[in-house]
Amino acid sequence: MSDKEKKKAPIRYSPLDGLFKGRQGVLLGLFALFALFLAIFPLLPFASGFWLNTLTLILLLAAMAIGWNFIGGYTGYAAFGNVAFFGIGAYGTGLSMIRLGLGFFPSLMIGAVAAMVFAILIGLPILRLKGHYFAIATVAIATAMGEIADSWTSFTGGAAGITLPFFSPIEWSGQFFYYMAFLLAMGGLLLTWFILNRKMGYSWVAIREDEDAANMMGINTTWAKVMAFALSALMAGLAGGIYAYWKTFVLAEEVFKIEYTLQMILAAVLGGTGTIFGPFIGAFIYYILITLLVFFLPVGQLHATILGVIIILVMVFTPKGLMDFLSGKKKLSVNALLENIRTYRV
């Protein structure tokens, strides 16, 4: 084909609608500004410990949501047990530090690799399951892992948990963990972008849309699914390792909490599954929503109810996330919010 003809038919390289549509340039610029703000945030005068703490939590959640998006958003497998990878990452990092006496970074690598290997081992059999069956198998494995970690006292410390050394110098601790979380989330976004421009990205979306057709068209679906699962485990495992060292304490009940899975899914869903920035932005939206609701309904013991009500509202009104509204693809209106119900009610 000659150069002239190529110009005649411009090709949209937007990989699989991953990027903002419509106001692409403006929004990308806004995002870059926001990222820059986050990058210099600890240097700002009002960056108190409270804000660093909150943002570290949000960024860790964003990283996990970005990871969940690989398997749940792009590949379309409703993984409900990603907290298992978080827990394995936390235990892997913690145990390497206290039992092997390794430094934080090598331990973090061990934790993350352990999470990935685990994802590959369980992924090979369970990624053959579809729909509800896959979802519940992941819940079951995550719950079982929590129970095993809790009762395997000689290895994991059981109900007493394990205590990690403090980060030193301790006065930089807040900044250190903030930047770890920031880099992880940014790395996750870059990884998403990188994959979407590779064949792997196309195979994930093809599998989501029609697995049989994808398979027949030459896509090694098993490999692609296991990779999606393993990469989501990598993100959660790294987040778990960072979290463990940050809190200097690992307890099965805490790091295998099913609420964490729920939070990552919710962040991804709020922002928009199967989009690059959706899970990242969703993590912020999630925290803002929770904080606002807690503020207006200050009954401490009812936080879970608030979370539940948010999920119900999101599922009923905007399960495709807010990304369509933010990117200008759709106008935010009562009508747009009712569209979901019109489509899916009986």
């Binding site: 749940g72 409703a78 409900f80 059999p125 369970i126 053959r128 399951l129 579809k130 729909g131 509800h132 069956y133 979802a135 519940i136 198998a137 819940v139 079951a140 494995i141 719950t143 079982a144 129970e147 095993i148 009762s151 729920l262 899914i265 919710l266 869903v269 599954t273 009954v299 013991q301 009812l302 936080h303 879970a304 109810t305 979370l307 539940g308 009500v309 948010i310 999920i311 119900i312 599922m315 009923v316 399960p319 979901n340 119900i341 489509t343 899916y344 009610r345 009986v346």
Partner: protein, 290 residues
């Protein structure tokens, strides 16, 4: 001693299987007909248990007599929940209904903990500790009664689904929703009715469980997972399948509880995953994907 424990284990497993059938059967019809995994199933069961507890504690109502009351209340609740909430998004992708029912579970458990506190409670009628021995095996009256009532309710459900017009409408809807609609079945109401049956059966199970075991607001989650395992074991879509699945599961649970007490749930869950992988059509061999 070993052999006594073994025989007692068998009897316990059989008695348990009755209640677990009741737990799983509501879950199974909701799954089979509405094609949703009702993660709030265990939460409704818990509410049923608390209804019995409060009726007994505040008004001295015999727990067995409260069975129809808790079932009726939860029937109405279930009907409303399906009609005015789940029906709104029932045809959405799996993730949506999954998260929706999960969120319902969170809300119900949290509210229950808030209002009723998180501590363990027991329903203790005078006859609670009584029983008889058969050989060396002990059989508590309440568990035997729970077993029998479970079987009766299961039988009634079977009769309802097979021989009544409404039951047939429900089954038709599960098989082919468009054909059912053409036959004049009102789908939203039928869905609500199906879900209501599911929650009522869950509440019934909750009542029976509350007589034999202590209860607390978080008791339900374990039962939801058990219901799922049982449906997987027995294969979806048949009442005998659920009974068989419940029986198998009861044996796994009772004996793993004897041999590996701290990993009771983990073993049940790993059995689930194993069955899913090895025999995804269930042990009873019914079609899994419909």
């Amino acid at each position: 001693m070993e052999s006594l424990q073994f025989t007692q284990g068998i009897v316990n497993a059989i008695l348990l299987s009755g209640t677990l059938t009741l737990v799983a059967i509501g879950f199974s019809i909701v799954w089979g007909i509405l094609n949703i995994i009702n993660l709030a199933h265990g939460a409704f069961l818990m509410v049923g248990a608390y209804i019995t507890y409060w009726l007994f504690t505040l008004y001295g109502v015999d727990p067995f007599l409260s069975l129809p009351i808790s079932m009726a209340i939860m029937f109405l609740v279930g009907y409303a929940v399906q009609r005015y909430l789940i029906n709104l998004v029932i045809r959405a992708p799996l993730l949506v209904t999954f998260l929706l029912t999960f969120a319902m579970e969170i809300v119900i458990i949290n509210l229950a903990t808030f209002f009723w506190k998180g501590d363990l409670r027991s329903v203790t009628p005078d006859y609670a500790g009584l029983g008889f021995t058969l050989g060396n095996v002990q059989i508590p009256y309440v568990r035997l009664a729970a077993f029998i009532i479970s079987l009766i309710l299961t039988g009634l459900l079977h009769v309802f689904m097979t021989y009544t017009k409404t039951g047939n409408a429900i089954r038709a809807t599960g098989m082919d929703i468009d054909a059912a609609r053409l036959q004049g079945v009102r789908i939203p109401q039928t869905y609500a009715l199906t879900y209501a049956l599911g929650t009522a059966l869950a509440a019934g199970a909750g009542t029976l469980i509350s007589i034999s075991f202590p209860i607390d607001p978080t008791m339900g989650g374990a039962y939801t997972l058990r219901a799922f395992v049982i449906c997987v074991l027995g294969g979806l879509g048949s009442i005998p399948g659920v009974m068989l699945g419940a029986l198998l599961f009861s044996f796994i649970e009772v004996f793993s509880g004897i041999w590996f007490p701290s990993l009771k749930d983990a073993i049940a869950l790993l059995v689930l995953v194993l069955v899913l992988i090895v025999r995804p059509s269930g042990i009873a061999g019914k079609a899994f994907y419909h």
